[in-house]
Every structure is written in structure tokens, then in C-alpha cells.
Amino acid sequence: MTMNPKKGIVAFTSDCIRWSLSGGIGFKLYIVTLLAVMGVGVWAYTNQFQHGLITTGMSNIVSWGLYISNFTFFVGVAAAAVMLIIPAYILKDKDLHEVVIIGEGVAVGALVMCLVFITVDMGGPLKVWHMIPGIGLFNWPSSILTWDVLVLNGYLALNTLVPLYILYCNYNNKKPVGWKYKPFVFLSIFWAVSIHMTTAFLYQGLPARPFWNNPLLGPRFLASAFAAGPAVIMMVLIAIKQKTSYPIDRNVFFKLKRIIVVSAIINLLMLFSEIFKEFYNATHHSLSAQYLFFGLDGHDALVPWIWTAIGLNILGTLLFAFDPTKCNPKYLMPAAISLFTGIWIEKGFGLIIPGFIPSPMGEVVDYAPTVNEILITLGVLALGVLVVTLLIKPSLVILQRFKGVNT
């Protein structure tokens, strides 16, 4: 490795773009596929934009669906970056410091998805400026939604700027100066907890919806996020290990696994506590849970989903807890996918949809997303994957060069 000959912002930007887009035929195909899925999503969205949200499966009874479900889940994935940030920056863990940038990249991708999911869910996306303080009216601090806007955008800024600064320093072959970024790292730790608690409060603060109006919601959001988020990061790490030359130590997987196991067990414990409360002495307020787990009045659209989710949840937790292969990536991948999918179902539509059923007037209906709605959702997911890919690729090149020069 030679010293990086170029310096400065212009060279940094152009090099990053070049590194993020260069790759073999397989990589190009992968990018084209993502772009194609996004293109279909955009087409589906123009359809929705023109005709209104009537193109979705939502109704006056189930008034939030797939978009808000995914939004909720990915807030958790974004928050989970903190599980790498704490050990890497605060506890000075060397192994996790190598991969913390990947966690931050995943967080940025997840946040982009969250913001887009919120936007596509809005009836009047062109009126967003009504929320901007100064030119619009920002109902802060009364509306929890305004808090969520603040914390999500703030977290996005933190998770973009800190890695950007570190990478820029490394690119110029300098060591980042501690006092310039460490305060923001500390801030981002509290901020990560706040994005997830605030999102939980969005639902938790509604007495109209007994299924959500539950003090355990916020803490459980965190526990499941700290299991599902590192699971996503682990999937990304395994992909990097297999597809690139970037070295990822086995210890990284071991430590991530430990984080996941602890969080997943706490999550299951809280799930059990919730189920106990809903069913030991079932009340009127347990009807949503009854709908979710067993069906109500002949409507049972979510029943197979939630049991699949619980199955995958338990399976994933067990696979991580009893790992006979000592962190073989080939073994960890299905475990991570299993846990991630389980929590995605449960924390996504398993949480949002039953909150609306039965309606405050006791009506029970099923919700099923339309094809158009699913296409938009897939488009947003593809966007998130693309963002993560394009952020992580140049980061790894820079880090590897810096390490090559300095060792």
C-alpha cells in the first residue's frame, strides 16, 4: 500500500463515488436489480399519488398499514447501531471498532427508509412544508409525531456526520481528533435510545388503542431492536466477509452474537409478560391480542403470521444461544435471517395492525396490502439496501488503505 496521493474534499468525493460504483459484473447486476425494483416502486407511487391512498389496502378502520409497520421496524434497526457504538467508542473494543462504520452505514440506510416510508404514507406529501417551523406550524411539544421528526432527522445527521468526519480524516491519512467527534458519539448513544422510545411513545400515548397503550411498549421496542438490528448488521458483515477482501475477525461475530442473544432473551421475556397479561384474565382490552393470536369474529388474517414470527423468534434465539460451530458465518446467516424476519413481522404489522382491530366502535375487519402498496414498500426497501451498499463500499476502501499505511 502506498500513501494516498490526493487530498481535499473534491478528491474525497470523487473517489468515494468511484469506489462505491466500481465492481465486477456481479456487483453491477446487483445494483441494476436494486434500481429496477426502485423504478417499479416509483411507478407504483405515481399511481398512488394520482389516485390517492385508495390504492392501498388501508381503510377508515385500519388507517395505518404496511408503510407505518415497516417504518416502526426500521427505526429499531437504525437505533441498533448504538450496540456497536458503545463498545467501539466508549469501551474501546478493538474488534468492534473495525466494523462500527458498517453499523453506522446500516443506521443511515434504515433512517432513509423510515423517512421515505413516512412520506409515502402521507395523504398530502406536497404539504410537508406545513410542518417546517417558521414557514409552517410545528405542533411541538404537544404532538409526539413532531418529536419523532426531530429525533429521526437528528439521528440521521449524527450518524452521517461522525463517520464522514472519521473517514475524511483517514482518507487524508490523519487520525481523527477525539474532541471533535467524541461528544457527538456520546450524544448519538442517548439519541439512539430516544428515537426508539419516541417512536414507541407515538403509539404508547394513545388511550384510544388499548393494544398500544402499554408501558412495556417502549422498553420492548428497544429489546427487540437490539436483537434485530445487530442481526441485520451481522448479515451485512457476513456478506462483506464473503464478497470482499475486508478482514472481519471471528471475534466480531462472537461479540455481536452475545449482544443478540441477551437482547433476544429479554425480548422474549417481555413478549411472554405481555401475553400473560392479555390472556390470564382477558378483558375488553385484550380483544386486539385475541385477534392477533387467535382471530376474532371469524377474522384471522394475522394469525399465521404472528405464530410464524414467534416460531422464527424462538428458533433464531436458540440458534444464536447454542452455536456448535463457534461462529461459522454459514451457520450464523440463517440464524440472523430467522431472528430478523421474526422480529420484522412481529414488530411491524404484528404490532401496528392489531392496534386498529377491533375499531373503537368494536368493528372487526381484516387488512391486506394491495399489490401497489407492496411494490412501493419493496421500492423503499431496495432504496435502503442501495444506500447501505453505496455508503459502506467506499468506507471500507478508505479504512483498509489507512490501516495498510499505518501498520
Partner: protein, 320 residues
């Protein structure tokens, strides 16, 4: 119903034809160039071939403030613009008011559950009066058929479709309860919904961004969302409108019962109370000690729905 469908079809055909003529296409292009993204801005209103004047009006409408932040002059201007737009777009002659709440008035409602027979004349009157969307069959009022011995309408039948009254059943009407401590108002991120000094909870349709958080927050299912473009047949349109009441809504915004603000601020009864054939609906000024509503609250056994949530509804049930 059938004829309405046909009419809708004719309308779309009309639009398609208009679209296909080259002249109108060119015209549209030039307007688009002139007015920038005004067409997009007004909610993806493609297909209509509007005049430059119309585009200009829509442009000004897009940049107007929240109703509560407007000066009296600005309120008059937007009302004038909306009247003009109704003429240009739908060839409708409407009279829109922005009448302010009257002094020393706080509206309240009481519903007599021993009198209501479930005829639903109130529902029909509400649909007509408030220009509710006929496509999605939007209704602000719901009547629940209840077994004696029940008191919670969530266990009643809100979809009954048979001759009424039925023996041993009673009927309970639900609509927005205009809570004093309304969770929907707290939830709104843009202050697009608020409680007026006379107690009416209203929505500024032009300011609502359609996030539907208020809908999730309402414990009484008092709000309705425009999932598609709402439609009212021209001959059924009620031209007497209020900015905060029954004026034209657009797709992607929230709406709700406004105690017929366009009527009640002129001293009339809401359409539902006027239409009720059994006299089950009592509406009036809670601050007027001689009003009928005060009499009911003082002398009858009254209760409110979901009192335990502490929202303080301005809507009571009572029995004789």
C-alpha cells in the same frame, strides 16, 4: 346508484377526450410552463385543462397560511378564491362563509336513547348538508342497534339493515363528540385541527398533511379520511358552505363532524337535529341557562361514552 356510476364514467370519458385534443394539450403545456408546478402542487390534478386564472388561484391557495394564522383580510381572500375556483372547476355557485364563533356560546349535544327509533334520517340529512363523499359513502353519524341491557355501543350492531324499530332494541347515535380535552388535537403535527372557542373541533382541510395520527388517537372513531378524490353530484351539492365546515374536501385529508358549523353559527340547528323525526336530538348553547340542553343536563339521567378516558366530550346520552 347506477346512474351515478354512468355519470362518473361519462365524466372520465369527457376528460380523456379533452386530453386527447392537441389544442388542449398545447394549452396545458403552456400553462404548466407558466405556472411552474402548480398542477402538481394542487395534488396531482392531472387531466383537467384549467385556465391560467385557475392555475394562478391554485398557486395562491397552495401558499396560504393555516386558517388560524390568517388575518381577517386573508380569510376573506381565500374564501373569495375558493368561491371562484368552485365556479371555474365545477361550474358551481357556492357561497362560502368564514363566520367567526359567536360570543358566549359553547355548543353541546344530548341524545335521547329512549326516543331514537333508528330511522337514520339524521344520517341522510348529514350526508346532504355536509357534502359528504358519495363514492366511499362517507357518513359522520353512525347508529348502533342495541339490546336492552347493553350500554356500550361497541357491542351493538352498527350495520343493521332492516325495518325499524325492532322490539326490545334501542338505538344509540355516535358522531364526533367535540371533546374539550381532545386527543386528536394533541396528536396533529401541524396544528391543522383545533377546538374553536364555541367548542367545535374543526379541521383546516388545506393545512392537513394526511398523516392520520389524529384518526389513531380518537377513541370514538369520530374522523374520516379521504382515501380517494371525494365526489358529490353537482345537483346535490349544498352551496351554503363554511371554510371550516362543509366545503369541498380533497383526497388525502381528514374530515369530521363540525356540528354543522355553517348552520349553527347562524343560530340554526345542525342538520341531524333538525331532521330527527322523533325529537331525540337536543342541541344548544351550554352557556345559556334557559337552553333545552341545559334543561336536559339538569333534569335527566345523563351519561357519556368512554367517560373513563377523560376527554370530556360535549355529547351526552340521556333517557326519559
Amino acid at each position: 346508484m347506477d346512474s351515478r356510476k354512468k355519470e362518473g364514467q361519462m365524466k372520465t370519458n369527457d376528460i380523456l377526450e379533452k386530453k386527447s385534443t392537441r389544442r388542449s394539450f398545447m394549452k396545458k403545456l403552456s400553462i404548466a410552463a407558466a405556472a411552474g408546478s402548480a398542477g402538481l402542487v394542487t395534488g396531482g390534478c392531472v387531466g383537467g385543462s384549467g385556465s391560467t386564472e385557475e392555475m394562478g388561484l391554485k398557486w395562491e391557495e397552495y401558499f396560504k397560511k393555516n386558517y388560524r394564522m390568517m388575518t381577517d383580510k386573508e380569510k376573506d381572500e381565500t374564501v373569495a378564491r375558493l368561491e371562484k375556483l368552485a365556479k371555474l372547476q365545477d361550474d358551481a355557485n357556492i357561497q362560502m362563509s368564514n363566520q367567526e364563533p359567536r360570543e358566549k356560546v359553547l355548543f353541546g349535544y344530548a341524545f335521547n336513547i329512549s326516543r331514537c327509533k333508528g330511522y337514520m334520517d339524521c344520517v341522510e340529512a348529514c350526508v346532504q348538508e355536509n357534502n359528504l363523499d358519495r363514492n366511499s359513502k362517507t357518513q359522520y353519524i353512525r347508529i348502533f342497534e342495541m339490546d336492552s341491557g347493553q350500554q356500550d355501543p361497541t357491542s351493538g350492531d352498527g350495520k343493521y339493515h332492516h325495518e325499524v324499530p325492532v322490539e326490545n332494541k334501542y338505538y344509540m347515535g355516535i358522531q364526533c363528540f367535540h371533546c374539550e380535552n381532545a386527543p386528536c388535537i394533541k396528536a396533529c403535527p401541524t396544528k391543522a385541527t383545533w377546538r374553536e372557542p364555541d367548542g367545535i373541533v374543526v379541521v383546516d382541510y388545506d393545512w392537513c398533511i394526511g398523516c392520520r395520527y389524529c384518526m389513531a388517537a380518537c377513541p370514538f372513531w369520530g374522523r374520516r379520511f379521504n382515501w380517494g378524490e371525494p365526489e358529490v353530484p353537482k345537483e346535490e351539492l349544498n352551496p351554503k358552505q363554511h371554510y371550516l365546515g362543509n366545503r369541498k374536501r380533497m383526497k388525502g385529508v381528514m374530515e369530521k363532524c363540525t356540528f354543522c358549523v355553517q348552520r349553527t353559527r347562524q343560530g340554526k340547528l345542525p342538520a341531524c337535529a333538525e331532521a330527527c323525526p322523533t325529537g331525540s336530538r337536543v342541541f344548544g348553547n351550554l352557556l345559556d341557562p334557559d337552553s333545552e340542553i341545559r334543561y336536559v343536563l339538569k333534569h335527566k339521567k345523563v351519561f357519556r361514552f368512554k367517560e373513563e378516558l377523560g376527554t370530556d366530550p360535549k355529547f351526552w346520552y340521556f333517557m326519559d
